[in-house]
Amino acid sequence: MKRKGLGFYLRIYGKILAQDLKSKMSYRADFIISTIGMIFTNIAGFISFWILFQNFPSVGGWSYYEMLFLYGFSLVSLTPVQCFFDNNWSLRMYVYSGDFIKYCFRPINLFFYYQSEVFDIKGLGQLAFGIGTLAYSWSRLGLDFTPLMLLKMIIFLLTASLIMIALQNAAAATCFWIQNSFYVLDLVTRFKDYAKYPITIFSPVFRFIFTFVMPVAFIAYYPSFVILRPDEVPLLSWLSPLIGVLFFWLSYKIWMKGAMSYSGTGS
């Protein structure tokens, strides 16, 4: 049997996605309502951010537009986890009910097959909002717009995405070992809200946690140094792409270990 490469998986994903979108569009009311909901969630998030800055001119030495940049950065980098890995939220239900076994009989990568089933279109609204915020703060900060900057931007956005995906994968995978993993997943999701703040505002204990235990600081804080403050980039910023890949790989291994040892419930 020939080995199934990236092209093979992209083609399958494309087909599932196209079909999935088609069927989602047919539920117009559902589509419109969830899009509006997403827009309001983002606006509400932005308002609380704005109110904060009405009261404090800067946070931990970061100006309003720098913070706005961080905010936009975290929105964009959270898009892939929202769009492509949303099925992680259902994992514990599938595992608990025994329905997860239906994913175990296909001759393709189990992780891919499971995640490909759900594409959450709501993430796209978040992406648009994030890009808008980024572009606005970018121009206000008077940053250069060169191909090198753009490349850095893309690399560090990908890094941040990988870390968030990794956190969610690992949290979701706990359901292979513990009964109710909802709290783990929920905890991780709550922590990601801290991604949009510079970690210097937290106490040293939380700084340590956000860097090494739940590395949410890598989602926006460390990467944005490269763009915002090129003169004072900490070593951890340069390392973050590596850390992103490493974390993603680890979380994939954990997920697969759980999935491959899954044997279903009695029938």
Binding site: M1, I12, I16, Q19, I101, K102, P107, G264, G266
Partner: protein
Amino acid sequence: MSNIIEIKNVTKEFKVLNRREGLRGSLKDLFSRDYRIVRAVDNISMSIRQGEIIGYLGPNGAGKSTTIKMMTGILEPTSGEILVGGNVPYKDRTKNAQEIGVVFGQRSQLWWALPLIESFKILKDIYGVSDEDYNSMIALYKSLVDIEPLLHKPVRQMSLGQRTLSDILAAFLHNPKIVFLDEPTIGLDVSMKSRIRTLIHELNQVKNTTVILTTHDMGDVDALCQRIVIIDKGKMLYDNDMEHLKGFFGSYRTLKIRMNGDLKQLAGTIQRELPDFSVSADDEWISILVDEERSKVMEVLNQLQRSYEIRDMQLEEISTEEVIKKIYEEGVQ
């Protein structure tokens, strides 16, 4: 003919936590864990040839699912050897998956939101089925069942029967060497059951696909299986053809009588009068399984006629249902 499945002395043990009762017990369980070993499958061996339809039977909890899970690579045997189409399922799970098709009762493996035809197209890509093979398979399906109305319907909107039918078609789509069907007719109406049986039979005939069928419905067994394997408490009780099994019970006849009144209640009374034989009732008939080595059917009938008014009667060979029931209860001597 070559063997498509070889199972040699396979045993599967599970470590099960002895749970203590009550809240205090649960707290104790947190700290000191007390395990026992449960043998779900105990030293089973069998060889299955390409193209056979095997009825894999046993009461609930006998170890059927565990065996199937080992054959599909989900579980690793504790000891013994399994070869499925030349692969060791647990080690070559992906390779094995390419050669098999699986339908697990009521759990649909199709994409819930997608119309059936789109699911088929994605499966075609996943299994790398050529256009030619795919088209001829769809043509075959069209000749066997009326799938036109199903093709453009999302799986979510299908009835249980349509979904089961779709799942079976999806399992055969890549022309696998073996298809595992776990209770394919559970919860279906009589006409759907019969359509599904016919479909499985036809596909087995045309494609020479090996079918491993677990079921509690003896109608499935009568319609499809030449050979049956029975396990109970993890041990193999029987592996041979159906006729041979019925031969064990050659001296048994089923006497069916029809009477006025509540048949279930009457059956209970008759059972007390005839403690040697098993008496049961359905909506129409009271069935008495008579072993002619003990007493002749006519004697039983005479005895009954003295105290009951019998409106109608039938005499039948022992049914598959009764054979299996006797084996579950008494084993094979």
